[in-house]
């Protein structure tokens, strides 16, 4: 006999049935019934200090474990605080289920206290969303939400639950499976298309594999490696694809795109065949579209048919799951001992384009060596989580990623404030693993309140702040393309500074805040590093500390990220280094 349960009980039981272990959530008026049931449940519940922190943490948890992240927020402001996190997850295809409380059904549409139309607001930034209208539907909707979030091309799903729905009692039964008439992702690639692709690969003299985050989501790294090795195809990855292919391999070209490596961008520009796998030809990847890969035919493998042909015309589209398709493809490609352009690629590689001085010009730290030090100290095994900006690009360029899910970053949306809470989620999902947050001094302050979450849960994330006292990436664009007019990018600037100033100097005011004092206020150990020789010992102390640790690294203030494809430029027109004056 089925037992009668309240909506809140159904919620808790349904989550258990979905195998959920960890919930990131922030309570409030309309989710009180759920929180009352959570009080007696076995879930690990992490309380962030802002709903945005909660959803980014759930996102980091999901990206690093491959499980679906779960976040709870209350109605109104709680729900709207999830918006950036939903958009971030949607852009990078992260499986999340966000539950929001809602005002009771009879008050919907009356502008009740803490009412916001979150299903309306989140429509374009979720894979799907639901407003639960009857308690009888709740279990089925939760089942559907997890199914949609985690299958096909994953993405966030929001479930909005009015408070009365949580309190009403109905009979509970959880469906084993759901059948959604309008949602049937196609997993199996068309055999004929696969055959055509294999033929093209076998004929190609200058092939390149261009791998995106889809390879990681699909769990297809070893199939990708097999293809690359069997047919001797060099591999470049996107930002979100870092880790899909071992960068220590001879066949790795590193990242492509705006701040990609010379070898990757030149190889794409001169290839006769591009095999694009689990990626979407983002504008930061392609540069000027008309001049992208002009000499190449393109095979595009992706599970989302809408990505095929969206920005670039495709010669051989294969829609389906990357892993299965690569497995089939590997059976059909012929083994090669080398390809027609290995020596050409080696020439580009030898240019070693990543420019970062050993020591900054003004004696301050240089960012590249700090990241290489982290790589060497952790033997390349750490999770690297980033915020957004210059440090994010350095993190992409200077660490050698070897495993999928190792590099966690907001790629599509470029969300400042993502990294720190995400790193906490990564640590929650991977308790024993070393987790490094690489942050800018600007981004870190966008969710700095989560220091409390790190401290209270003793999450041993090592926070490394690349402190240049500027919003560095924006400043770089101002320097390069806007006559060095540093409009609102100096973080040392105070009200009594001259109205226009583009020359950082000795007399500039001190940076606010002093990060190590902030960390101390939360009971987190911290040090400030100014000398290159202090970097390694400080990192060793951080790693030895069982709790969280913050390193405030004062880096060269006007260091730039190179190479750079100027906005609107072609991939082969990279700016390789600073123009000397």
């Amino acid at each position: 006999m089925t037992k009668r349960c309240t909506g809140a009980e159904i919620f808790v039981k349904s989550l258990s049935r979905e195998g959920v272990e960890t919930i990131f959530g922030y309570p409030g008026g309309t989710v009180l019934p759920i929180y009352d049931k959570l009080y007696d449940s076995d879930f690990e519940h992490i309380l962030p200090h802002h709903e945005q922190g909660g959803i980014h943490a759930a996102d980091g948890y999901a990206r690093s474990t491959g499980k679906t992240g779960v976040v709870i927020a209350t109605s109104g402001p709680g729900a709207t605080n999830l918006v950036t996190g939903l958009a971030t997850a949607y852009m990078d295809s992260v499986p999340l289920v966000a539950f929001t409380g809602q005002v009771p059904s009879h008050m919907l549409g009356t502008d009740a206290f803490q009412e916001a139309d979150i299903t309306g607001i989140s429509m374009p930034i979720t894979k799907h969303n639901y407003l639960v209208q009857k308690t009888e539907n709740l279990a089925r909707i939760i089942k559907k939400a997890f199914h949609i979030a985690g299958s096909g091309r994953p993405g966030p799903v929001l479930v909005d639950i009015p408070k009365d729905i949580m309190m009403q009692e109905v009979e509970f039964s959880y469906p084993d499976r759901v059948d959604l008439r309008g949602y049937k992702p196609n997993y199996r690639g068309h055999p004929l298309q696969i055959k055509k692709a294999a033929e093209k690969i076998n004929q190609s003299r200058k092939p390149v594999l261009y791998a995106g985050g889809g390879v990681i989501i699909s769990g297809a790294s070893s199939e990708l490696r097999q293809l690359a090795e069997k047919a001797q195809i060099p591999v470049t990855t996107t930002l979100t694809g870092l880790g899909a292919f071992d960068e220590r391999s001879r066949l790795s070209l590193g990242m492509l795109g705006m701040h990609g490596s010379t070898e990757a961008n030149m190889a794409i520009s001169h290839a006769d065949l591009i095999i694009a796998v689990g990626c979407r030809f983002d504008d930061r990847v392609t540069g000027k579209l008309d001049e992208f890969a002009q000499e190449a035919e393109i095979i595009h493998i992706d599970i989302d048919p809408a990505e095929v042909g969206k920005r670039v015309a495709i010669d051989i589209p294969i829609v389906g799951d990357v892993k299965g398709i690569l497995t089939e493809l590997n059976k059909k490609v012929t083994e090669k001992s080398g390809n027609g352009w290995g020596s050409q690629i080696q020439e580009w590689k030898d240019m070693d384009c990543r420019k970062c001085s050993e020591i900054g010009e003004n004696g301050r730290l240089s960012p590249g060596p700090i990241i290489e030090e982290i790589d060497s100290l952790t033997e390349g095994e750490a999770f690297i989580v980033t915020e957004v900006g210059q440090h994010q690009m350095w993190a992409a360029q200077f660490f050698k990623y070897s495993h999928p899910r190792q590099f966690i970053t907001s790629g599509g949306l470029g969300t400042m404030g993502y990294g720190f809470p995400a790193s906490l989620g990564v640590q929650v999902g991977n308790k024993e693993a070393p987790v490094f947050l690489l942050a800018g001094d600007g981004s870190f302050q966008m969710n700095i309140q989560e220091l409390a979450t790190a401290a209270k849960n003793n999450l041993p994330v090592k926070m490394v702040i690349f402190n240049n006292q500027y919003l560095g990436m924006v400043r770089q664009w101002q320097e390069m393309f806007l006559d060095k007019r540093y409009s609102s990018t100096c973080l040392r600037r105070r009200a009594d500074c001259p109205p226009r100033c583009s020359e950082p100097g000795e007399d500039c005011p001190e940076m606010i805040p002093e990060f190590i004092k902030v960390a101390e206020a939360y009971g987190i150990k911290a040090e400030k590093i100014t000398e290159p020789e202090d970097v390694r010992p400080a990192l060793e102390r951080a790693l030895a500390e069982p709790g969280p640790y913050l390193l405030d690294c004062l880096i060269e203030v006007e260091e730039n990220v190179f190479p750079m494809v100027p906005p609107g430029g072609s991939l082969y027109e990279m700016i390789l280094e600073e123009e000397s004056e």
């Binding site: 299903t119 309306g120 374009p124 894979k127 799907h128 407003l131 959604l180 008439r181 309008g182 042909g309």
Partner: protein, 159 residues
């Protein structure tokens, strides 16, 4: 180029909002849209007339298919199909012009559905061209108000 697209969707609240939001967000240009229930209670059908190149249309179909509430998208532009829209036209008419107007309406197999002292209301059903022609002919008398539905369409024969 104009395309006619038939979309089967779930008959539930918020579906139209999802579709409208998709169009505005992705910059698709809708010329007309009509929606109503079908022979199945849980399915509604939307008939869209959209402008754009073949490539734009392909992307539109794919994006529509991504919506969970969308069951089926068919481009019926080149299929043999019957399509109609309807219009009400309120036109100035006094004793001297009324009979002329009635004649024109008769030729077009329209109907006069309301008569007032100084105006008549005409109902006309047909394809776009027919309604445009009717409008043009009534124009000189002075059109007071005009409302037209979106197009609905169905392919001929089986299917």
């Amino acid at each position: 180029m104009k395309h006619t697209v038939a979309v089967q969707v779930a008959n539930e609240s918020g579906v139209l909002a999802r579709i409208a939001s998709l169009f505005s967000r992705r910059g698709f240009n809708i010329e007309s849209l009509s929606v109503g229930q079908t022979e199945k209670e849980d399915v509604s059908r939307i008939t869209l007339v959209v402008c754009g190149s073949q490539r734009v249309l392909e992307q539109l179909e794919k994006q529509l298919n991504k919506l969970i509430v969308v069951y089926k998208v068919s481009n019926i532009t080149n299929d043999p199909a019957v399509s109609r829209s309807m219009a009400f036209i309120k036109v100035r008419a006094d004793y001297s012009t009324r009979s002329e107007i009635i004649q024109i309406v008769d030729v077009f197999r329209g109907e006069i559905v309301d008569v007032a002292n100084d105006s008549v209301m005409v109902e006309i059903t047909g394809d776009e061209g027919k309604i445009n022609a009717m409008e043009e002919l009534l124009e000189p008398y002075g059109i007071i108000e005009l409302v037209r539905t979106g197009k609905i369409a169905m392919t001929r024969g089986k299917k």
